[in-house]
Symmetry: C2
Subunit: 157 residues, 2 copies
Amino acid sequence: MSADPQRAVSEYLHGRRFQTDKVGEINFGPSGLVPAVIQDVSDGTVLMVAYMDEEALLRTLSTGRTWFYSRSRNEYWCKGETSGNRQHVVEAYYDCDADTLLFKVVQEGSGACHTGERSCFYRAFEPVAGPDDRKDADDSDRPESLEPSAVGSAGEA
Amino acid sequence: MSADPQRAVSEYLHGRRFQTDKVGEINFGPSGLVPAVIQDVSDGTVLMVAYMDEEALLRTLSTGRTWFYSRSRNEYWCKGETSGNRQHVVEAYYDCDADTLLFKVVQEGSGACHTGERSCFYRAFEPVAGPDDRKDADDSDRPESLEPSAVGSAGEA
């Protein structure tokens, strides 16, 4: 990964911008959109996932603020323009298939989620009872598709 | 967010499983697939993003290993079955719109990426020269769409 994060955080205050020469490498696919994971640079919390097309990515890199494209509203939106919960990009990445983006940001305000939560991922699938409680557990409620013959060697994990 | 991460990591060694009662809340949309962000529980690194349908999510929650659906291969795959780079789920979340998943995992082996990198997000959009270098920079190469009139108040960031 890239440069000194402390310097990066300092730089964003002056308006960090990113080179756009690699935008052509991104595979936006038939929909023209790729998911963008937004991560808080301060502690690694995944704040949200939203979608960018080429124009939204160009705006994000060129302004240092996160821009997304909303299919339902058919418009571009700059995160935090209404709520004040702005995101300032400190680091920007794309994945091995060039079809997913990752931005590490300084999150202003109360958080990223429109519900008021800091992260959009505030709801969990709860674990089944711990190992000690489960030793005698009945496995009969496992989905049929999870019979050993269907899961291959997953059982060895 | 949820319970004690240390206990959670310990539990995974015994095979952590998750309740499936909230799977019906997930909005898989027209494609039947939602993106799943996979994050290393040890330090928050975003390792990869791949896609799950309902069956892949059920397998993931019920086995404690990450399962994905590949459209190109038209098959389910359990991460690490071939490479040994298995992912053991410690925490599982879904977002406010119930159309994106987040899994914190213990990553076995060298990493998540088929290229040998630990994270699939190993390529960066490089920052433009730092603030001190940029004071006299020429902005004439900014995309036309980023003229101030087009970006609204983004310039105030």
